[in-house]
């Protein structure tokens, strides 16, 4: 089977990229192809990269508090290009009720700080397998 392709992006103006880097390395170690785009990405940059790279998954790490602005915009931009099939997941400091609102808006699962990376890996694997089974 081909490797899962994931874009790991760090939207927002804060400089806390440790989480994003740890996640990127963990996904790589789990056999995925990870495209890493660095700090301070705008939703436009994230959506453009996701579409150009034809990724299966976008993983976002947000700690700046701007999640309610940035994540819905990424979703909208992906939909505008007909790529609402891309799974948008991720995590950071996001209050429970905001997570619920975002998941209702169309993201996949969002993870709180301190979640072991293995959980995210497993979630992406399961999601991917389910989707392949569906399209096959």
């Amino acid at each position: 089977m081909r490797p899962i392709r994931v874009l790991v992006a760090k939207p927002g103006l804060d400089g806390h990229d440790r989480g994003a880097k740890v996640v990127a390395a963990a996904l790589r170690d789990a056999g995925m192809e990870v495209i890493y785009t660095g700090l301070h990405q705008t939703p436009e940059m994230i959506a453009t990269a996701a579409i150009q790279e034809d990724v299966d998954v976008v993983g976002l790490s947000i700690l700046s508090g701007a999640h309610m602005t940035l994540i819905p915009r990424v979703l909208d931009l992906l939909r505008d290009d007909g790529r609402e099939d891309i799974l948008v997941t991720g995590g950071g400091i996001i209050p429970r009720e905001d997570m619920d609102a975002l998941e209702a808006r169309g993201t996949g699962r969002l993870f709180g700080p301190g979640t072991p990376t293995s959980e995210l890996v497993e979630y992406i694997h399961n999601w991917f397998e389910a989707r392949e089974a569906q399209t096959a």
Partner: protein, 355 residues
């Protein structure tokens, strides 16, 4: 998102990036129907000028690529970039970080960037990269830049699929000229010594020029004296520099250029050299040769792949082979006799006409 080919191609022809990205994935993975797709795109292939960039990790290839793209954009040329990085041999995963260096053009609609992983040692990577470049070509990009890490034979092969190959070296990475792999010297149309702000850059340039000049001197020495260079005044570095500046349609001696990519210095000269090399290819017939070579390689790859698929996915063949194992064990047949027999009994299968 199952999508019929016609819809995909319609979107592709309408210039939709998502369709391009999809098409590349199909080609990269040789997904079912990839050959049909390539067939449909074939008439549109052949316009783009292809530039290969190779060199050790951290040499500044992506930084230079970013600058080249910016410069080409000022001339309104549309650019596709393929950045190939190694996959982990243990997990098959890969971390592809080249986009970080190209952030300045990330949102430019005339630029498309695609990261690719080498995916282990499976052969055919260079052919596959060339096919991805074909898709970009068919999409209408004027220039295609292929960045690969020049560490192994595979990467050199990829670089070789370009029209012009630039080898980027840096003073610090221990690539003193002695340690340069012979393959690298062979494939370079242009040498770039980047990080000119670091000590040792001038020396490295001199060393490369010396080596190129010596080589050229050696070939000249076989030419009758009145055509060649008098050995007394033989100055290899001068020879290399002069040759690199000349517009001789008969001969191309690699140019050796210095850049400081982090300050954007030297890129204009690099682009001028690339143009000069392209003109040389056009007038010398080299371009035609390279392109015909690509086609030939592609056929070789496709044939190999089809043979594999047709033979080993055929249940009858496998069953027959199993019956031969006893014979080979008993010593009445050898793997070679079995192979020959297998090929001769598979004629209809190989030609695609099922008996």
């Amino acid at each position: 998102m199952p999508q019929s080919f016609d819809a995909l191609i319609a979107d592709f022809e309408a210039g939709k990036t998502a369709a391009l990205a999809r098409a590349i994935s199909i080609v990269e993975n040789h997904r079912t129907g990839y050959d049909e797709l390539m067939t449909r795109l074939h008439p549109r292939i052949g316009r783009a000028q292809r530039l290969g960039m190779t060199g050790p990790p951290g040499a500044g290839k992506s930084t230079i690529t970013n600058l080249i793209v910016q410069s080409l954009r000022r001339d309104n040329l549309r650019v596709g970039v393929v950045a190939v990085d190694p996959s982990s041999p243990f997990t098959g995963g890969a971390l592809l970080g080249d986009r970080v260096r190209m952030e300045a053009v990330a949102l430019d609609r005339g630029v498309y960037i695609r990261s690719m992983a080498t995916r282990g040692s499976l052969g055919g990577l260079s052919a596959r990269t060339a096919e991805v470049a074909d898709v970009l070509d068919a999409f209408g990009f004027d220039r295609i830049i292929i960045e690969t890490v020049g560490v192994g034979q595979t990467e050199l092969d990829i670089a070789r699929t370009a029209d012009t190959t630039v080898v980027v070296l840096v003073p610090e990475s221990g690539d003193s000229i002695q340690t340069l792999k012979a393959g690298v010297m062979e494939i370079a149309d242009i040498f770039v010594v980047n990080k000119g702000d670091r000590p040792g850059a001038d020396r490295l340039r001199n060393d490369i020029e010396l080596m190129l000049g010596l080589r050229r001197g050696a070939t000249s020495a076989n030419i009758p004296a009145h055509h060649g260079i008098p050995l007394k005044t033989f100055n290899p570095i001068r020879i290399a520099r002069d040759a690199a500046r000349s517009e001789n349609p008969e001969e191309w001696l690699p140019a050796v250029l210095g850049t400081i990519a982090s300050k954007g210095e030297g890129i204009d000269l690099l682009l001028a050299a690339v143009d000069r090399h392209f003109r040389y290819l056009q007038t010398s017939g080299g371009l035609k040769g390279r392109r015909r070579n690509r086609l030939k390689n592609q056929v070789t790859e496709v044939v190999a792949e089809r043979l594999r698929a047709r033979l080993w996915e055929d249940p009858d063949t496998i069953t027959w082979l199993d019956t031969q194992l006893d014979l080979m064990e008993a010593g009445t047949a050898t793997p070679f006799s079995v192979a020959d027999e297998l090929l001769s009994r598979s004629g209809p299968l190989l030609t695609g006409v099922k008996p």
